[in-house]
């Protein structure tokens, strides 16, 4: 059945950020899409080995990065993610 995909978030003009200087301590928010069978397993192994990575990287596990669609990346940007990392 056809349905309208309504924008889950709407950005009112008042909340749009004005361009500003980047503070020295600023870190980009990075979203990582990782394949369950390789990249996510590698991240898991890194955890087991007690290796650390910056906290501004968030991981989303996918059954396969072949599942990743353009819209997932675009939605991430729409919601304020600064960079998307796809590993698989």
């Amino acid at each position: 059945m056809a349905d309208v995909a309504e924008a889950t978030e709407r950005t009112p003009v008042s909340t749009i950020e004005k361009p500003q200087d980047i503070p020295a301590e600023w870190q980009p928010n990075v979203l990582a899409f990782a394949c369950h069978y390789c990249a996510f397993a590698a991240a898991d192994l890194a955890g087991v080995m007690r290796l650390s990575y910056p906290p501004n990287v968030k991981i989303i596990r996918l059954p396969c990065t072949g599942k990743l669609d353009h819209i997932h990346v675009l939605r991430a940007f729409e919601r304020g993610i600064d960079g998307v990392f796809v590993a698989g």
């Binding site: 056809a2 819209i71 675009l74």
Partner: protein, 237 residues
Amino acid sequence: MIVGQQKPFDEIWSMVRDFKKVLVYGCNTCVAICHAGGGKEAEILASMLRMKAAQEGVDMQVDSAAIERHCEPEFFEPLDEKVRTYDLVLSPACGVGVNFLADRLAGAIPVYPGINTSFYGGVPEAGFFVELCGGCGNCILHLTGGICPIVRCSKSLMNGPCGGTNNGKCEVSDQTDCAWYLIVERMKKLGTLEKLLEVQPPRDWSTGTHGGPRRVSLEHIRAYEEKEEKNAATEGK
């Protein structure tokens, strides 16, 4: 299938920027195959418009939807009411779909095109589309080995190649095969080369695109539908 290409984003933005509530309404048939205006492309375009609106400081709601076909009424019905709540429908369907929906909405809200409809074509390989039919209304493919000289020959010649044929390529571009070279080679393989000796008279173009919209009416089907409607009305009484 009908092949189209999405319009440049800046052109789309200039069309939609003055509207507050926009629906990007994709079609999941031909334009989905050519990655121009299916549900996926509608979603992507809607997302890009939302981000552009945010960047430009424009308060705008952009949603997306898609139905299987934009050229038949049944497919529109489930979303009819919802569609009418928007200020603008941006349709990345082919020109047929844009016309069809605009007629259906009858001036209630505008329908703008999101793609440039290019041609009737085939998909010889993924991501590559080529024009193979001009829709001239008077098919002669049986005379030319299944290769259309109307649309594949740059001059639409009917009786062999012009002087510009060059080692199997057209003088217009070395990327374009000479249709008549292809026809001769095909007819040789088919063993029907002698058919080309028959001179084709000047073509009757009255079936072409220059006499207003063309129509095809299947009377037996229309009569059957009318009968069904009458029966339903009688039973309803």
